[in-house]
């Protein structure tokens, strides 16, 4: 919705053309920024774009890199799916059953602020070393934002929609599936986006704590040897991946939301 200009629809056609152009401009801007930072700090903290990309090119050509990437991807996908699903269901439940929400939300938010390092011994105890610990770290990071976004969306829902669901005697499951999820979709997509990024981060952190494979391990490598091009390259890969996934999710979210958003002008 664009409320300040009510003739939104008419602008849509030229906007398509803008989009590619703007994306290019933005990419150039970011590259320039990166270059400036890189050369200003003389490559000590961040390696400038060109050397990084060259390094990345070489890195991508090694099977070793794909090994690491695959290890991370596997753990991440699992963590993301778990965070998204559990977060969605929890958020919906806490949103509808206001009472459970009032009980659970502060506990959840409190848990989230615990510095994750201190939980490492507990994670080790519960999950041991390896895959499941990485996934646990991912979920620990990704779950709460998903829950909070969903819960917030449900709370702000027009009450009449929930009353409609009640009158139609929809089961809780169906109320979620048919009323709450579609009505809250924009917020759910936002939750998914943040949760996506954070479960990725969580997995990386998990890999830094204990790992022998994965992009997190490569990152520790780069940092410990002060191999700046390596760590910058790995971050570049992560960022590009996250941006791509985010763009995709936004597109999908918009496709659904657009219908609801063709607001009166």
């Amino acid at each position: 919705m664009s409320e300040l200009s009510f003739d939104h629809k008419q602008k849509l056609i030229p906007r398509r053309h803008f989009r590619a152009f703007d994306a290019v401009v933005l990419t150039l801007l970011m590259l320039t920024f990166w270059q400036v930072i890189g050369s200003w700090t003389q490559g000590v903290a961040v390696s400038p774009p060109l050397p990084t990309l060259v390094y990345l090119g070489d890195l991508l050509a090694t099977p070793m890199f794909w090994d690491h990437a695959a290890a991370t991807l596997e753990a991440f996908l699992l963590a993301f799916v778990l965070s998204a699903l559990i977060g969605l269901v929890l958020g919906l439940i806490f949103g509808i059953r206001r009472f459970t929400g009032e009980v659970a939300e502060p506990i959840l938010a409190g848990f989230y602020t615990i510095p994750k390092v201190t939980l490492y011994p507990v994670v080790l105890l519960l999950f041991g070393l390896g895959m499941s610990a990485k996934v646990a770290f991912g979920v620990m990071h990704g779950l709460v934002p998903m829950t909070l976004f969903t819960l917030g969306a449900v709370r702000n829902l027009p009450p009449v929609l929930i009353r409609t669901a009640r009158v139609l005697r929809l089961s809780p499951g169906r109320t979620m599936r048919w009323v709450l999820v579609p009505a809250c979709l924009p917020d759910i997509v936002n939750g998914l986006r943040i949760s996506f990024s954070l479960s990725l981060l969580g997995v990386l952190i998990g890999e830094m704590f204990s790992s022998q494979r994965g992009l997190g391990f490569l990152l520790v490598n780069g940092m410990a040897q002060h191999n700046v091009p390596l760590s910058t390259a790995v971050v570049t890969v992560i960022v590009v991946m996250a941006i791509a996934a985010n763009t995709l999710m936004l597109r999908i979210g918009k496709r659904f939301a657009q219908r609801a958003d063709t607001v009166a002008g």
Binding site: P158, R163, R169, A257, R259
Partner: protein
């Protein structure tokens, strides 16, 4: 099919809203609505009509008193067989008109063909045939209201609760919708509880009209219209019609003045 037994029965129902300040919205009210009856409620703005509807639908528990539907007491759950059109716009913005109307039939065990027929019929009857693929944001206020009515009626509920369903419609459309409602009521044998602020509508459609007092709403008058079951909007031209509306008018007049704080 107006049988003797009560489909809905309220006894000493009171509904209060915790403040601050505490507002007594309703009651005490006792009321029986018979199976297959067409019952209307009129009353001044803010007197508790919508609250009463929520109580009957089981959406809201009365602060005291009890509500029974088909002999079973309600305890905060919506019983099967009730359809409600709310006063607010309750169309689902993410569904097209057709999907909105079909929404309640999603879980039904009806054959697909039958569902499609019912939905199409309801849509075209509501004059929305051209807009079946539109989304609510693309509709006018009255059109959205019609979507919500259609959504409720395709379900063929045994008790239909309508909260000012024709509020955003022009008078001619109201009349036509009223006739259709009567036809449906006759054919399905459903009970109807209609809240309206149009006295002529109440007088023309109902078997019985309850007039509510200013808040906290209680019934101060109960008017039997005595129309035959097989009636339509042409009753407007009957001589009783004028008398009926006049009676409703005079019962209500004082209450509305009270609500607005004017001298009676």
């Amino acid at each position: 099919m107006v049988s003797g037994e009560a489909q809905v029965s309220l006894s000493e129902v009171v509904r209060r809203y915790d403040g601050p300040p505490v507002v007594q919205a309703l009651g005490p009210i006792s009321l029986d609505i018979k199976c297959g009856e067409f019952f209307s409620i009129v009353g001044p703005s803010g007197c508790g009509k919508s609250t009463l509807l929520d109580v009957v639908a089981g959406l809201v528990r009365p602060t005291s008193g009890s509500v029974c539907f088909e002999g079973k007491e309600l305890h905060g759950e919506v019983p099967d067989g009730i359809g409600v059109v709310f006063q607010e716009d309750s169309s689902m913005p993410w569904l097209s008109v057709r999907d909105n109307v079909a929404f309640g039939l999603r879980t039904s065990s009806l054959p697909k063909q039958e569902v499609a027929t019912r939905v199409d019929h309801a849509i075209s009857f509501m004059g929305l045939a051209q807009f079946a693929g539109h989304y609510p944001a693309q509709l006018s206020g009255g059109m959205r209201q019609r979507v919500c009515i259609a959504r409720t009626l395709v379900l063929r509920p045994r008790l239909i609760l309508l909260d000012e369903p024709f509020g955003a419609l022009d008078q001619q459309t109201r009349l036509l919708m009223g006739d259709e409602l009567l036809r449906l009521w006759r054919e399905t044998g459903a009970t109807v509880l209609l809240i309206t602020h149009a006295l002529d509508e109440a007088a023309m459609l109902s078997d019985r009209v309850g007039v509510m007092s200013a808040r906290p709403g209680r019934f101060i008058d109960m008017v039997e219209t005595g129309w035959p079951r097989d009636r339509d909007s042409r009753v407007i031209s009957e001589s009783q019609f004028g008398a009926l509306t006049a009676r409703l008018w005079s019962s209500l007049r004082e209450e509305s003045l009270k609500t607005l704080g004017r001298a009676a």
